[in-house]
Amino acid sequence: MASIDIKNVRKDFGPVSVLKGVDLAIASGEFAVLVGPSGCGKSTLLRLIAGLEDASSGEIHIGGRRVDDLPPRDRDIAMVFQSYALYPHMNVRDNMGYSLRLKRTPQARIAEIVGRAGAKLGLEALGERKPRELSGGQRQRVAMGRAIVRNPKAFLFDEPLSNLDARMREQMRFEIRKLHRDLGATSVYVTHDQIEAMTMADRIVAMNAGIIQQVGTPLELYDDPANVFVAGFIGSPAMNFLSGEARRGETGVALSVGGKAFCTLSQAVAVPEDGRVTIGIRPERIRIGVGAGQVVEAAADLVETTGAASVVHVDLAGQAMKIFTTERLQLTQGQRIPLAIDAKDVCLFDPAGGGRLR
């Protein structure tokens, strides 16, 4: 097991800057998830750690050793690819044992290690099969097995679940997580799926446009986002953003949307001079009905239900907003409904830069 330290790493492809100076420290044994929309540089960062791309500048250390000049084979890492990248002409056993054969491990020892990894992943019966004879989930397991037998310093995962159907994805998510608990190996996991990030990560690294936006535990990012990007990317249904106005008063900062009072924050917040702010509130933190907090009135638009819960789309002074509720509601379009807003659930952002106002 080893820590991974990334210091001011930049990566340019010609005139295009994909990573614009990334600093990141991943602790030994940690499960770090790099998450962001496609093109944000997360996969490039992973490939830099693996040694499949060369950084334009900066340093990468694995286990305290500087590796950015080493070829992939000398970095002692294992990688699971989105496409699995199983060797099609080798059977499952040979696929898993290939790295050991390269190290000239004795046959008997290879058989033992591969056997143990196979047992852990439920692949015992498939040893003779070729990759094309396996289902998606089985291929995924073989790819994991190939990584495990290496006993590497770190595991790298590049969107490993994207090619699986929803049910399989859920199961593999659980299995990868359990495997990590058993092996305790430092893992870097890339995904564009914020649910994967939330459910699997010890720490999430949220990236956008080649810059790390925020690093923290899933709940830190969820409850205390650093900017509009993180607030909007983490969580499903996504956080509501309303453009509103803030005015400092005697009791605190009074927020209004479209001229109507929204809520009043008691804590001190740095408000821009013109008073224009982006108000963020998570759909599940808004309660329908009159409650303890401040009440605003909105018009119901549409209700989507999944059975367990519903998403109510409402219109608040001309701005669309979503409310997540486990109550079963019968609402007609245009029906006026009261919404209870708790001031402590409201995040304020700077509409210009997108940064959080605190």
């Binding site: 070829p71 990688m79 990248a85 099609p88 390269l102």
Partner: protein, 280 residues
């Protein structure tokens, strides 16, 4: 297929009728070659045209094998074509891999130059090549032919190999390199086995190209000892007569190595080996 049985029958007949037509048109010259090679001399020059001779004989084959330099030409052709096929394929595989996987300075220009070499007829470069090869001792030598054939095969063979490498996911060698292989080892142990169909196709292409080439073979090599088969076949056509019988027999024999070659590589020509490597 839809429709009534009658419509289906018509469609079926059309489908196979066209196929049959094509096969007959393609194979008829071959059939005629075999037929004449088996027709005895005395019934060869009659007025009637028969689809099959009344008696068949192997006399032409005996003449070709026993009474001519045929075996020498044959040996020369096998050497020239075999070495050409192997050399062009190896070099084309190397350059095709580079074009498929690496971005390097001058890549665009190299591709351009290679394309240009494919654009003009060979006839116009024969004279300069002859005057270069003469002093180097490469005329009247098998080596000269091998060099020329390999050089002219490489551009197209390179594009061919590149397209095969392009078809193999880059992740496979990346996975191998992370597993502990050098790039060369990954190429040898992971990529090469998957490129066998491509290698076989490229080899077949280069082999048959060299096997049937006559222009350079005729003009660079005048001595019988270094002549290849197509040149040898011309010897049956003299000023006075054309010895159709032995010529056809030699032609049939010339087909054999190509047939054997394709028989050996056909298993690799079947695609689909990469299925299952990535999501499928």
């Amino acid at each position: 297929m839809r429709g009534s049985p009658r419509v289906r029958l018509v469609k079926w007949s059309l489908h196979y009728g066209v196929l049959l037509l094509f096969v007959v048109a393609a194979l008829f010259p071959l059939y005629w070659l075999v037929k004449i090679s088996l027709t005895p001399n005395d019934s060869l020059y009659t007025h009637s045209i028969d689809l099959w001779p009344a008696t068949i004989s192997l006399e032409h084959y005996a003449t070709v094998i026993g009474n001519s330099d045929f075996l020498l030409f044959f040996r020369n052709s096998v050497i020239v074509s075999g070495v050409t096929a192997i050399a062009s394929t190896l070099l084309a595989a190397a350059s095709g891999y580079a074009f498929s996987r690496f971005v390097f300075r001058g890549r665009y220009w190299i591709v351009g130059v290679m394309l240009v070499t494919q654009m003009f007829p060979l006839v116009i470069v024969i004279t300069p090549i002859f005057s270069i090869f003469g002093p180097l001792g490469l005329t009247n030598s098998l080596m000269g032919l091998i060099i020329i054939y390999t050089a002219f095969n490489i551009p197209f063979a390179t594009f061919l190999m590149q397209s095969f490498f392009d078809g193999i996911p880059k992740e496979l060698e990346e996975a191998a390199m992370i597993d502990g292989a050098t790039r060369f080892k990954a190429l040898l142990q992971i990529i090469a086995p998957l490129t066998l169909p491509g290698i076989a196709a490229t080899m077949g292409f280069c082999f048959t190209g060299a096997w049937g080439e006559i222009l350079f073979a005729l003009l660079l090599n005048s001595a019988a000892s270094t002549s290849t088969f197509p040149v040898g076949l011309l010897l049956y056509s003299t000023r006075a007569t054309i010895e159709f019988g032995p010529m056809m027999a030699a032609g049939v024999l010339a087909l054999l190595p190509v047939c054997i070659f394709f028989f050996l590589i056909q298993r690799y020509l079947v695609q689909g080996l990469t299925a299952g490597a990535v999501k499928g």
